[in-house]
Structure formats: structure tokens, C-alpha cells
């Protein structure tokens, strides 16, 4: 009986893993063999619609000047405003923003000292004072160029587009092995996964770090949900379930810092898993019942929503396999199959297997960093623990009805200070 149950569990996990493997194979083949759907950059010359840029900041004195310098001159002041959101900062962020506001009329600061702290609450307040419908959001440690801002904004020329997402590229890749491995992950996630979801007409992820949305649409949906950690993922599925398209602009590259220490990566991954699972609980029914999504869009959306369940599932099947081994069952084939999955799927966050990452890096023009592909497996234990703890956090959120707390990601220059 126990043996049958263990075998049954392993079979179930292998079945689910095979579905994900097929998904990644289809996306990778599509990216390599099918003509790519371009973004909206053909419209760049004619598109100068009014635009608002929001920059949420909490204790961002280390990076505030840089991001404001980059965005402030992106467009003429008549059709453009920048709203830096000082969200309960205790450092010099407010003074830096005030200094820029005194020098540039495009900057209209929002200072928050009361109410809930956190990105979604800040974005909701900023939408209230924004003058324009087309809205872009950048994290404070990002480096958006003028071309990038105009490129992302051009997506709103399409009236069906409710949100747009650009490509995130790590800029501190040469710091250590971890940052190089995270660079591989990002490459697989954006160059193949996001781009091909865009090409296939599926639902690319709107990420709140380098993307944008229509203020009118988000307002009509009730604004960003302040109770979820992954407000961007939540917005993605609310928009999609309501019939709005998410555009992905692969050439709109924006540079970010990835965690340089494994502890930072652990916390980040745990937070992502927690936020993503909160979204799964909240939006699953809406996605399944949406009259606007096609069958394939729903299937892909469901696979993405359930993606953080896979690492603990795989880990549980490895435990089941160990139990079968201890019981003296012949586990050769199961060990081969599960071992393959454990080695092949280690790019958590987007869950890209090695062949997808390899193809993405090849398209990106990477060379020596390709040799790091087998090293992704070294992060298996840390990643699985982080994701599993994130899932438990999400379950406890539901069980106890607790609201998540916001923690700011430590910037590299802060860490070295």
C-alpha cells in the first residue's frame, strides 16, 4: 500500500514535470524557429502621447539621483511628468527629490508619511495625482534611457494593451558566480519565455520594475492590491482576466542590480514565491472563468500561476524516491527521471530548463558564460528551501489573515558602504 502510494506520487509529479517540459520546449522552439512578433517601435516617430513616470522609493538615497537624472530629460515637459514616490523614507531621499523638483518642472514629488507603506499603496496614491493615462513604473535602482521610455510608452498606441513590460538585464553580472548565474536565469526568462509568450499571443508577465499600465484601467479595476506582495503579478492576471492585453517589448532593456549574496537571493526568492502564491489563491478562479482568455492563454496562465508549487513537488518526489530506495524497491528508472528533472530545472523565478537558457544566451551573444549552465544545479537546495518557505508563508497569510510586510531590497552600493 505504502509502496503503491509512493510510486503513484512520483508518477504524478513526473506527469506535471513533463507538462512543464513540453511547455518550455514549445516556447524555445517557437523563439528559434518562428518569426518574432515585434513590439510597437515602428510607431516611435509619431507617438508623443502624454506620459507619467512613477518611481517608488523607500530609503533610496544611494540611487535616487541616478534614476532621476536619467528620466528627467526623456521628454519635453509639456507631455511628461515624473512622480518620485517617497514612501516613508528615513534617509536623505526626500531632500534629493526636493532638490530635483526645484530644478525641473517635470518632477512632481509625492511624499508619503502616513498610511500603509509599500509599493502598491504608493502607486495607488500616485495614480491619484497623475495627470496622464499612460503610466510607466521604474524601480529606483533601474537605469531607464529615453529610448526605453518612449519604446515602452508606444505600446499604448494599441488600444487593447492594458499594460506593458520591458526586459530586465542585470548590470552587475561580473561581481561573482551568483550574479552570473542570475544573469543566465534572466536571459532564459526574458529572451525566450516572455518574448515567445508575446509572439504566441499568450499572457506575458507585467513586472512592476520596468513596465507600465493605463491609469484609467488600473483605477477601474480598483488600483493595485495592497494585500499582496507581488502586486505586478496580481495586476497581470486581473488585467488579462478582464480582457486587456499585456505587451512585452524585448528590445526595451533596462538594467538592474541582482543580489550579490546568496542570503539576499534567498530572501528575494522566498518573497517572490510568497507573493506569487498569494496571487494564485486570489486570481485562479478569475483566470479560469474569464470569457476573454482563450484556452491556450488559460492553460499557460495556470502553468505560470502554479509554477512555484513545482520545486516542493519535485523535492517531495525525491523524498518518496528515497523512501522507495530504503524499502528496497528497484528505483533505477525513477532515479534517472527525477535526477534529470532536478538537474534540468534550476532556474527558479522563471523555471527555465537548461536548453531554454542555453538558447536564450546564444541569441543574446553570450559565450563563456554558457559554460556555467551545469552550475545552476548547485543552487538546488537553497532555491528549493526558499520557494518552499515562501509557499508556507503564503499559506500562513491565508490561515491567519495576516498582511505581508514590505522589505526593501538592499542595493549593492549600500551593502559595500
Amino acid at each position: 500500500m505504502v509502496v503503491n502510494l509512493l510510486w503513484g506520487w512520483i508518477g504524478l509529479v513526473v506527469f506535471f514535470m513533463a507538462i512543464y517540459a513540453a511547455r518550455h520546449l514549445v516556447l524555445t522552439a517557437g523563439r528559434l524557429f518562428r518569426p518574432q512578433r515585434s513590439a510597437y517601435h515602428e510607431l516611435l516617430d509619431s507617438n508623443e502621447d502624454p506620459l507619467t513616470v512613477l518611481i517608488p522609493m523607500h530609503n533610496e538615497s544611494a540611487v535616487a539621483s541616478r534614476v532621476l537624472d536619467l528620466v528627467v530629460d526623456a521628454r519635453g515637459s509639456e507631455k511628461f511628468e515624473v512622480i518620485p514616490i517617497d514612501d516613508h523614507s528615513a534617509d536623505d531621499t526626500a531632500e534629493i527629490i526636493a532638490d530635483y523638483a526645484s530644478r525641473y518642472e517635470t518632477i512632481r514629488p509625492l511624499t508619503r508619511r502616513t498610511g500603509l507603506r509599500g509599493k502598491p499603496a504608493g502607486l495607488n496614491d500616485a495614480m491619484g495625482m497623475s495627470s496622464n493615462d499612460a503610466t510607466l513604473v521604474f524601480d529606483a535602482d533601474y537605469e531607464p534611457s529615453g529610448d526605453l521610455i518612449n519604446g515602452l510608452a508606444s505600446a499604448f498606441a494599441d488600444p487593447e494593451v492594458g499594460a506593458v513590460m520591458g526586459r530586465v538585464v542585470p548590470r552587475n553580472t561580473s561581481t561573482n558566480v551568483l550574479t552570473r548565474l542570475l544573469d543566465l536565469e534572466r536571459s532564459g526568462g526574458y529572451q525566450v519565455d516572455q518574448q515567445q509568450r508575446h509572439t504566441f499571443g499568450l499572457v506575458p508577465q507585467y513586472g512592476g520594475t520596468v513596465g507600465g499600465f493605463r491609469r484609467s484601467v488600473m483605477t477601474s479595476l480598483g488600483g493595485f492590491d495592497v494585500r499582496v506582495l507581488a502586486e505586478d503579478t496580481d495586476a497581470t492576471y486581473r488585467l488579462a482576466a478582464s480582457g486587456w492585453r499585456i505587451a512585452y517589448v524585448n528590445w526595451a532593456e533596462c538594467y538592474e542590480e541582482v543580489p550579490t549574496a546568496l542570503s539576499g537571493r534567498f530572501k528575494q526568492l522566498r518573497r517572490w514565491a510568497r507573493g506569487h502564491t498569494q496571487v494564485l489563491f486570489r486570481r485562479l478562479v478569475a483566470v479560469v472563468r474569464s470569457p476573454y482568455l482563450t484556452r491556450w492563454q488559460k492553460l499557460d496562465a495556470l502553468l505560470i500561476l502554479f509554477i512555484y508549487l513545482v520545486p516542493p513537488l519535485l523535492a517531495s518526489s525525491l523524498v518518496a524516491n528515497t523512501a522507495l530506495f530504503m524499502l528496497g524497491e528497484q528505483v533505477g528508472l525513477a532515479t534517472v527521471v527525477l535526477g534529470l528533472f532536478a538537474v534540468a530545472y534550476n532556474a527558479f523565478g522563471n523555471f527555465a530548463p537548461f536548453f531554454q537558457i542555453g538558447s536564450a544566451v546564444l541569441i543574446d551573444g553570450g559565450r563563456q558564460r554558457l559554460t556555467l549552465l551545469p552550475m545552476l544545479f548547485a543552487m538546488y537546495f537553497v532555491n528549493t528551501c526558499a520557494v518552499t518557505l515562501g509557499l508556507l508563508d503564503a499559506l500562513l497569510d491565508v490561515a491567519r489573515g495576516r498582511a505581508p510586510e514590505w522589505h526593501k531590497t538592499k542595493r549593492m552600493n549600500e551593502a559595500s558602504a
Binding site: 522552439a29 528559434l32 525525491l318 551545469p374 537546495f381 528551501c385
Partner: protein, 259 residues
């Protein structure tokens, strides 16, 4: 309505690399078709030549001189099985192992200055060893007798030789390898698997003799097929570097599609 942009003449685009956002490596359909046939042929040849490969495997194991080698019927051939001397510890030792594993796991968990990745691996290993000891204490027997474990190991190794080249061959279809590169990769993966299997067999024999049956699970589950896959992906990635260099050096019009 026709596009109003004038098409660029060939000399205008010569040397220009398409932007990475939408470019794709050029694939030749006949080359892919040939590759599929070549991968299938490689797999068929592997199955046909398996008895001969198993003979070589047996000869290599005898050279190791780590234990007597017998054979058993397996998939069109004679599978070499090495006799393993495995020490089965008594209850007192098993309790000691459990205690040591528990204390070790807790100590590593609190060793904050250590690399978290290393700590994770060590804790997982300690839990595996402690769990194996607990299981043996409860059931009063090791998971496998020496010959059964040796047989399981050998069968799994051969299964991996058959499966891994096929999987990597399919995965490699997403990369514009040349046919000889693809076949070389599969051959390298197979050779790596065979050599690793021989060396690992010897290592297992020594470890189980010097250690105990408690090490069976950690050895098989951590250093079994997992190592083959990591090695296979390492070979795959090394070949990718070669392709990437070719894409970098080649005439952009021949190696990249604009979209």
C-alpha cells in the same frame, strides 16, 4: 497597404548584426532533418552495440580490481555486476550515526559564516544519512543486499547511457549545431557516462566497504545518475560555446535571421 519603408539593399545590411531582441539563428531544415536521423541512428547503434559495450564495461571493472565481477542477463547483453562487501552496522552504531547526523545538521544550520549553499547540501546529506540509519534501525535490515545494490547500480548506469544521449540529442535540436558537432557531443556524453560509471563503481565499492550500508542511499541518490546529467549538460554547454563563437564570427546574413 504596402510597407512604405524602402528595402535595404544587400550591401547596406552586410556586416550589420540584427538586434538581439528579435533575431534568431539561421536553421537549415535539411540539416535538422538529417540531425534527427543521425540522433536516431546513434541511439539504434547504441542499442545494437550495447552487448559489446557491456563487455568493455566488464573488462574495465575487472581492471579496477575492486571486487569479483559476475554477469547477469540484461537487455540483449551480459550486465557486469561487482561483488560488494558491505558492512551492516548494529543497533548501537546506528543510534550513534543518527545522533551524529542530527548534531551535525543542527551545528551546520547555525554555522552562519559558512556558505549557505554548502550548508544546505551538508544538512540535506546529514538528514539523508540519519534517515537511512533510522530506517535500518526500524526494519533491522539494509535497503539492499550487496549483490542487489550492485545490480541496481549497474542497471541504472546502463539506463542512463541509453537515455541521456537521446535527451541531449533532442535538446540540441534547438541549437544550430553541425551534424558532426551533434554526434561528437553524443559520443562524448556516452564516453563520459561509461568512464564515470566505472570509476564510480570502484568508489562505491570502497566507500561501502570502509563505511557501511548507511551510505547506500546518499551514494546512489547523490552520486548516481545526477552526476551523469551534470556532466552531460556541461558537455552540452561547452559545445554551445563553440556554436556561439561561430555565430559571432560568421557573416551575419548567413548566421542570423532578422526575425
Amino acid at each position: 497597404m504596402e510597407a512604405t519603408h524602402p528595402a535595404a539593399s544587400p550591401h547596406e545590411t552586410a556586416g550589420i548584426r540584427p538586434p538581439r531582441a528579435t533575431r534568431r539563428p539561421v536553421f537549415s531544415v535539411p540539416r535538422i532533418a538529417f540531425s534527427i536521423v543521425a540522433i536516431a541512428a546513434f541511439e539504434v547503434a547504441l542499442v545494437v552495440l550495447l552487448p559489446r559495450l557491456l563487455e568493455l564495461y566488464a573488462a574495465a571493472l575487472r581492471l579496477l580490481d575492486a571486487g569479483a565481477v559476475t554477469t547477469q542477463e540484461f537487455f540483449r547483453g551480459e550486465l557486469p555486476v561487482m561483488e560488494l562487501n558491505i558492512w551492516v552496522p548494529g543497533p548501537t552504531v546506528l543510534v550513534g550515526i543518527m545522533a551524529a547526523a542530527g548534531v551535525g545538521a543542527v551545528a551546520v544550520a547555525y554555522a552562519g559564516s559558512w556558505n549557505p549553499m554548502l550548508r544546505g547540501i551538508l544538512i540535506a546529506e546529514a538528514m539523508l544519512i540519519g534517515g537511512a540509519a533510522m530506517f535500518m534501525l526500524a526494519t533491522g535490515r539494509p535497503p539492499y543486499a550487496g549483490d542487489a545494490f550492485a545490480s541496481l547500480y549497474a542497471e541504472t548506469s546502463v539506463l542512463t547511457w541509453l537515455v541521456l544521449p537521446l535527451l541531449l540529442g533532442v535538446a540540441s535540436l534547438s541549437v544550430p549545431f553541425r551534424a558532426w558537432e551533434r554526434l561528437s557531443m553524443l559520443l562524448l556524453v556516452l564516453m563520459f557516462g561509461v568512464v564515470l560509471s566505472v570509476v564510480r563503481y570502484g568508489f562505491f565499492a570502497e566507500a561501502l566497504d570502509a563505511g557501511s550500508s548507511v551510505l547506500m542511499a546518499p551514494l546512489f541518490l547523490n552520486f548516481g545518475p545526477l552526476l551523469d546529467f551534470i556532466g552531460g549538460i556541461a558537455i552540452f554547454s561547452a559545445m554551445l560555446v563553440r556554436v556561439s563563437s561561430r555565430l559571432e564570427r560568421g557573416d551575419p546574413r548567413r548566421v542570423w535571421s532578422w526575425s
